[in-house]
């Protein structure tokens, strides 16, 4: 491996972080790892902004009276929170950060298939985020993240069209990432990396990419149609102009329900990696978990109408969507049971990523099972637009996806940075997030069941105690999220230096054959994969090898 002499005269191995250090070398990089880091920094900012909006919402709801924010500002707050968290944090979170960083290494590739497209996706994301942020700052919008028509297209004030263009661009960023990963997985697997030797994170990313490519164009065009109706008054969704508002909901949820799986499927991939690495066991039922990812991606496209049971959709269509929604529970349950079976009789190591992964399983199970109440038409009518819904999707998208994101961050952090964070603080943070999350959102199930509607800034006195509990829990959750930000940044300078390739003793090419931090080109030469994924039963046999260089023939016929 190449080395370079740095300022103090000591020899340091060249890695993707130090081989070029100018700002331009980051902003114009084609290196998938650096692009992953660019995404990490960007989405952290939007998570913080979305989190501030959430904090204001919970502060308002700590008391029954609407005394902190006016109803108008409150509407804008939950819109800011939803738009930033969904389009600018959750959708790109695991795919754009960890998919970019580890997926090529996992399959033995030296980069993604289209490095320039990869960088372009980040620029699309940033421009989209900038436009959306301008719209949110410049007076804000109050449509909610769903941009429901005809309110958004004909009545809402503010920069709705600008926010929509921002989301449109972020959508194309997501499509670019999806295309890149699909082609990379199909075309750039190292020799010996057969489909059923792929790590399950790669299977999950494949399924996610399918949704990104097949679903995102629909929402992008749909939102553009809202902007067209808003600016040109062409009747598409507004009944006054001859349009149909429920058509908007069909088109919007055709993407936005599968979008939930864009957020959770990569998380499931992470959990497979982490559970296996810290149980020192092959993932139980590998093939079932792999195909469950595909099944979730495909069935997830057939269930969108469950968002519309009470909005005027035909009862017969609702019956169909209800039935199909129940089907999604099957592959989700397959995954959960198989993770538990993986831990069973494994040599479990209670490191921070594992604690996060276990937290994911607990919260995702609650989120998933409460989804069944909403899949059933009768209970859905009672619970729709109440806090039950808010609690349910936060259990899946925050309890599930963000727990998995944090698990991934703690799992691959040493590989990304060459530094280790303090384990005890990380475990404490995982615990705080788990406890704080449940305190925040479990009371909301009860509130929703009691009939408290979402999106109001005041409520009757009898719901005060549960709301106060929820707001108190949000404080704990906030501390749980702030802690990693502090100790991870701290670790960049003061954390233990990690020089070994495989600090967790995990299996996989990114751990066994890639240096820490990785070489700019990942592998010296393209590896040859010799073993299946998670082959913990044969610790003496590496998952892959780097072939020896071909001997240089001097004086041959070309010489």
């Amino acid at each position: 491996m190449a080395t370079q002499t740095i300022a103090h005269g000591e020899q340091q191995r060249v890695n993707y972080l130090n081989w070029k250090t100018t700002v331009a070398s980051w902003l114009f990089t084609y290196d998938h790892k650096r692009i992953g880091i660019l995404y990490l920094v960007s989405i952290t900012i939007f998570f913080l902004l979305g989190g501030i909006a959430a904090a204001l919402i919970r502060m308002e709801l700590a008391t029954p009276k609407g005394d902190l924010l006016t109803s108008d500002v409150y509407n804008k707050m939950f819109t800011i929170h939803g738009v930033l968290m969904i389009f600018f944090f959750l959708v790109p979170s695991i795919p754009a950060v960890f998919g970019n960083f580890v997926l090529p290494m996992m399959i033995g590739a030296r980069d993604v298939a289209f490095p320039r497209l990869n960088l372009l996706s980040w620029y699309f994301f940033m421009v989209g985020a900038l436009l959306a942020t301008i719209a949110l700052v410049k007076g804000g919008i109050d449509t909610g993240w769903t941009f429901y028509t005809p309110y958004s297209s004909s009545f809402a004030k503010g920069e709705v069209s600008l926010a929509i263009v921002g989301v449109f661009l972020a959508g194309f960023s997501s499509i670019f990432t999806g295309i890149n990963f699909l082609v990379t997985i199909h075309k750039m697997r190292a020799p010996g990396m057969t489909w059923f030797r792929l790590p399950l994170f790669v299977w999950a990313m494949y399924a996610t990419s399918l949704i990104q490519v097949l679903g995102t164009p629909v929402v992008a065009i749909t939102l553009l149609l809202v902007a067209v109706e808003r600016s040109l008054r062409i009747g598409i969704f507004d009944p006054n102009l001859g349009g149909d508002p429920i058509l908007y909901q069909h088109l919007f949820w055709f993407y936005s329900h599968p979008a939930v799986y864009i957020m959770i499927l990569p998380g499931m991939g992470v959990i497979s990696e982490v559970i296996s690495a810290f149980s020192k066991k092959r993932v139980f039922g590998y093939h079932f978990v792999a195909f469950a990812s595909l099944a979730i991606a495909i069935i997830g496209f057939l269930v969108w109408g469950h968002h519309m049971f009470s909005t005027g959709q035909s009862i017969y269509a609702s019956i169909l969507f209800s039935f199909l929604t129940f089907l999604v529970a099957i592959p989700s349950a397959i995954k959960t049971f198989n993770w538990m079976a993986t831990i069973w009789k494994g040599r479990v190591h209670w490191e921070a990523p594992m604690i996060y992964a276990l937290g994911f399983m607990g919260l995702f199970v609650i989120g998933g099972l409460t989804g069944l109440y909403l899949a059933a038409m009768a209970t859905n009518v009672h619970l729709t637009d109440t806090y039950f819904i808010v609690a349910h999707f936060h259990y899946v998208m925050v309890g599930g996806a963000i727990m998995a994101y944090l698990a991934a961050l703690h799992f691959w952090w040493p590989k990304m940075t060459g530094r280790m964070y303090p384990q005890s603080w990380a475990k404490l943070s995982a615990l705080l997030v788990f406890v704080g999350f449940n305190l925040t959102f479990f009371p909301q199930f009860i509130l929703g069941y009691m009939g408290m509607p979402r999106r109001y800034h005041s409520y009757p006195e009898e719901w005060a105690a549960l709301n106060l509990l929820s707001s108190a829990g949000a404080s704990v959750l906030g501390i749980g999220y702030l802690l990693p930000a502090i100790y991870l940044v701290w670790s960049l300078k003061y954390g233990r230096v990690v020089t070994e390739r495989n600090p967790w003793g995990a299996r996989g090419l990114e751990w066994e054959l890639v240096d820490t931090p990785p070489d700019p080109h990942n592998f010296e030469r393209t590896p040859i994969v010799t073993r299946p994924a998670y082959d913990y039963g044969h610790p003496e046999e590496p998952t892959g090898i780097i072939p020896k260089p071909r001997p240089v023939v001097v004086g041959g016929k070309d010489g």
Partner: protein, 111 residues
């Protein structure tokens, strides 16, 4: 197409499509645009108008995909993904229509 030049490098094929193929595709698309507008002036039931408009749109899309996007000259995997795109569109339309068609049906009179 005999005039297509194909360079084979490590399993990749790069087709150089003659400019007249693109020109004819463009002319075909413009003709279909005229047909779309003309169809709008022909009196026909709404459902038939929808079918005709969608059929023309599908044909136009096929031309763009086949020639401009090079699907015609690509391998089976690209064909599969292109077909998946169409299939997903069909899913979206059929399931949404399942709502529109059955909305007037009443499970009991006065529902």
């Amino acid at each position: 197409m005999a005039e297509h030049t194909a360079h084979h490098t490590e399993g990749h094929e790069h087709h150089v499509v003659p400019i007249r193929v693109y020109t004819w595709t463009l002319i075909g698309l413009l003709i279909l645009l005229i047909v779309t507008v003309a169809a709008g002036f022909i009196p026909m039931p709404v459902w038939l108008g929808t079918v005709v408009a969608l059929a023309i749109a599908a044909f136009k899309t096929s031309l763009v995909m086949a020639f401009f996007m090079h699907v015609k000259f690509s391998g089976k995997l690209v064909w599969l993904f292109a077909a998946a795109g169409f299939f997903w569109l069909v899913i979206m339309i059929i399931f949404a229509y399942a709502d529109y068609i059955t909305r007037p049906w009443e499970p009991v009179p006065g529902f």
